[in-house]
């Protein structure tokens, strides 16, 4: 706000110092009015989220540091015992490793596929609307049901994918060692659940990127073209910086959604076979809810939080600085 610049700054200084401003009481300055307006606008969202997420989050932190069970949620404080106990269990390490592989791998794939698709969709061509509608469906189908559809498509006996591949002589017949058991062979199982996550998620990445790409004013691109920039130069020096915020936010949200989502693994393999697809959310669910050890379950599911928190803060701050 150019107009209130200098006055605003001195008013802010006065507020920071805590002293009184000679000219106007600080609460009547435009800055203060702006703050009041701003915080009032923020209030509904902040209140809603703090009451319904913040407070339960604090409760879950408490759970993670107690020996609570489902039948006894007010239990004794045990400090970091649950986290230490988790680290002793081999199942936990397996779940941690799988979670990281899953999230990072799927994230990279979604980013790449989403970017490519967004570029393609940016071009005008006949049938674009129809194509867009079709491509968006994986994302709009309720996840519980679309995953069940994939379960059927990956079935070890009746898989339509295997049927097709086998008819094309790309794999062996049913019963031979060349018949992939998508959800049964260790690395294949993890790859399959990752694939379903990517299948659901790449339309989302594409849309977010499309939003970013279309917000790049064509004049800027034209100017770059006029300046003789090649496609790659245009892409990396002009477009990427402009869409970086949206790209980044989309990726960050998607990463966070993926990290806490247990539906895909739960419905396809429930972490099996032998932990090949076990991820932290499914382990936490099996320990915390199905076995009733609430405290330990909370510790498992919040385990990544202390790692992600500083990471996210740093990245978000960098993003802000880039914009200003």
């Amino acid at each position: 706000m150019a107009g209130s610049g200098s006055r605003g700054r001195s008013a802010r200084l006065a507020v920071a110092v805590g002293g009184r401003v000679g000219v106007v009481p600080w609460w009547r300055t435009p800055t203060a009015r702006r703050y009041l307006f701003g915080y009032t606008l923020l209030a509904p969202a902040v209140l809603y989220v703090s009451l319904l997420v913040g407070a339960p989050f604090l409760f879950s932190l408490y759970l993670a540091m107690s020996d609570a069970t489902v039948g006894d949620p007010v239990a004794q404080f045990v400090g970091l015992e649950n986290f230490r106990a988790a680290l002793e269990s081999t199942m936990f390490y397996v779940a941690l490793r799988n979670t990281l592989v899953f999230t990072i791998g799927a994230g990279i794939l979604k980013g790449l596929l989403g970017t490519t698709l967004a570029f393609l969709l940016l071009q005008p061509f006949t049938g674009r609307k129809v194509v867009r509608a079709l491509l968006v469906i994986p994302f709009t189908l309720p996840i519980a049901i679309s995953v069940l559809g994939w379960k059927w498509m990956f079935d070890s006996q009746f898989s339509v994918i295997n049927w097709a591949l086998s008819r094309l002589h790309l794999i062996g017949a049913w019963g031979s060692p060349d018949w992939p058991v998508w959800l049964g062979q260790p690395h294949l199982a993890l790859a399959s659940v990752m694939f379903v996550n990517v299948w659901r998620g790449f339309p989302f990445s594409a849309i977010v990127l499309l939003a970013g790409l279309t917000s790049v004013p064509p004049e800027v691109i034209d100017a770059a073209k006029v300046d003789g920039a090649s496609f790659m130069q245009r892409f990396s020096k002009v477009i990427v910086p402009m869409i970086a915020p949206i790209l980044f936010i989309g990726t960050a949200f998607d990463t966070v959604f993926t990290l806490s989502d247990l539906s895909i693994v739960y419905l396809l393999t429930n972490g099996g076979p032998d932990g090949a697809t076990e991820i932290l959310p499914t382990l936490a669910y099996n320990v915390g809810i199905r076995a009733g050890a609430l405290g330990r379950g909370a510790a498992i599911s919040l385990f990544l939080f202390p790692l992600l928190l500083p990471g996210m803060i740093v990245l978000l701050r960098t993003l802000r600085r880039r914009q200003d």
Binding site: S89, M91, P177, G272, P273, A291, A293
Partner: protein, 444 residues
Amino acid sequence: MSDSETAPTDHAPVSRRGFLGVTGAGVAGASLLDMLAARQAPAQLKGTSLRILTWSHFIPAYDAWLDDFAKKWGDQNGVRVRIDHIPHLELPARFASEFAAGAGHDLMQMNGQIFTGQYYRHLMDLTDTADTLEKKYGKWMESSKSAGQVQGRWYAIPDFYIAIPMLWRKDLFDSVGVSNPQTWEDFRKAARLLKPKGHPTGMQFSHCNDANHNWRALLYSFGAKETDPSGQNIELDSKETREALRFAKAMFDEGMTAEVFSWDDASDNRYLASGVACWIHDAISAFRTTEDTNPAVFKNTYMLPEAAGPGGLRWNVGEPVIWAAWKFSKNPQGAKDFVVAIVDAQKEAMLASRGYNMPFLRDHYKKPMPGLGNDAKLAVLQEQDKVTAFFGYPGPMSPPAQEVLTTFLIPDMFTRVARGGPIEDVMKLFIGEMRRVYAKHKTG
């Protein structure tokens, strides 16, 4: 396929705040008995409502019967009954949320995953009901007590358990000369001979419910034990366990395909119904599905309560289904009465379940048992209680045993060995995890 169709659940539209809250607290046991004997609706129950949570039974006809039974009971007693069905694997989440909310159903069913030990401080003491039923119908099955009792008091009433027998194809077995399979060795031999002919067998090596029960059946039949009878000490590290693991690996190599690593609870049913499997180790629901979808295969499918291990032991690991009621239930009397009514109607229930439900009370085993006694193939199940154990055997179904169940330690142990892992290392790893689980429950 009439039986496999979804049984429409008939709910009277219920408004959120439409319940009357009359409770029938404090009815003395004696007067309850009198009233039951006289089959009159106790005055306290009239005008109340009862909310029941159960699982979605694998035999839809049973749910149709149950919903109808509940309605009739409700009409007879002036109680508005509502039954909600959810998949059994989702019951634990529902319990947790109802307990946290301090409100929910009056009566609920636990299936396979036993939470009596976790919630007993908040469950109604049902000892008087249990004693009443015992007086009426003979002794409770000894092994059922750990599902319902904590420190000698009953907090849950066992309703029925699910048997998981051997379902085998007589025509295929006859063709390779194994005409009367009785032992695990027999079944292994049959699979070895039939796999090259396109009829392998399969048992799940994955994270599913059936895997938990199948491999425990093998372990117990080989003489291995999960814990000692007190449930405090783990006794899985034994010669018998090693034998069972070796056997499982051999059986996998000879008689199964790699598909079994991706199987879920329904996969073996499909294997049998599609005509491929030479035998499976599965509940009667598979038998019924095959009956409905592949009569030719069904004609040749026979049942064995359980296969015997090398020492002659037979242990079938069943899934207990029990009733419990929250202390905060708004209709404790209604809950108790309904449980008694259901057990009173056990014979009808067994019939409606097409042989799936196995009772817990002695007298219900009098022959001929409904649904089983008159069926040539199912008649063998009338001795099922003699070979039935539950998870944690011979220890109780305690919270640590439950955690070992829900984290799939035993199926994983077998999976790793089947994949070629060295038995000693694998056992050390998984039994170590088991010890950790038990230790945490001791301190917790």
